[in-house]
Amino acid sequence: MIDSVIGPTHFITVAALLFGIGAAGAIWRRNALMVLMSIELMLNAANIVFVAYGRQYGDNGSHAIAFFVMAIAAAEAAVGLAILIGIFRTRQTIEVDELDALRDET
């Protein structure tokens, strides 16, 4: 595995692709649930970069950081989904374009 030509460049390219797809989804999807899932994709891409560089420089602290990112993603998903349920209860929709209560009226 150490002598493989599959280097960090390969993994970071995959991470860049996943991050780009996730960012596009977060920007262009209308359903707030899909926006949250796209954010999970972006967090995953960041994790891949951490672990890939960790192998490049022989530091397994990156594994601990990836673990922390996962814990924070779990917390974010729990709170975000609870907020979505609250919004759905009062507005009967989670289309992000319809949730404009904080928009400037002018």
């Binding site: 860049a16 989804g25 796209s38 891949i48 960790g54 729990a78």
Partner: protein, 172 residues
């Protein structure tokens, strides 16, 4: 032909597993973002997350790979699917109409350029052996990263309390 295989890493088992895992991860992510129904999107996201776990295994991070399957593909996605079924959402309006502006083109161009620079600037040199076993990472978590580890546990507690409070029916 054999030079191509050696150059692209397709002459080794790791190479094949990498390309398989990477392709499934990217296709799963694309299908997640493109699928109309949120439930199908969530199922495709599980496919993508599991293939990312394969990539972690190739990087020698067995603990992170196990956590990826358990925490991400297990716990977090179960939460998502539970909420999708609770809200009973049908296929949605999909993506909002995209229009091109100078700012978008400039931003995308800059992002692509910087990504290319980062990807191509990774220093060569041999990858080093890392110990990604539960024992090694656990020692690290309860040693060097003890404060962060405890802070994460407090954060998770706060998130649980916050989710319960947000999900409670208002008694008005």
């Amino acid at each position: 032909m054999s030079a191509f295989f050696a150059h692209s890493g397709l002459d080794s088992v790791e190479g094949w597993f990498f390309y398989l895992g990477a392709a499934v991860a990217v296709v799963g992510a694309l299908m997640t973002v493109l699928s109309r129904s949120p439930l199908r999107g969530a199922l495709w996201l599980i496919v993508s997350l599991c293939s990312v776990a394969v990539l972690y295994l190739l990087l020698g991070a067995s603990f992170v790979a196990a956590m990826q399957v358990l925490v991400y593909a297990g716990a977090i996605m179960v939460l998502f699917i539970f909420v999708i079924m609770l809200l009973n959402l049908g296929p949605d309006a999909g993506v909002r109409p995209a229009y091109l502006s100078v700012a978008k083109v400039l931003g995308l161009g800059a992002a692509a350029y910087f990504t290319f620079q980062i990807v191509t600037s990774v220093s060569g040199g041999k990858a080093q052996a890392v110990d990604g076993t539960v024992k090694a990472v656990g020692t690290l978590l309860l040693g060097n990263y003890l404060f962060a580890f405890e802070a994460i546990s407090v954060l998770l507690l706060v998130a649980v309390v916050g989710a319960v409070v947000l999900g409670m029916k208002r008694l008005t």
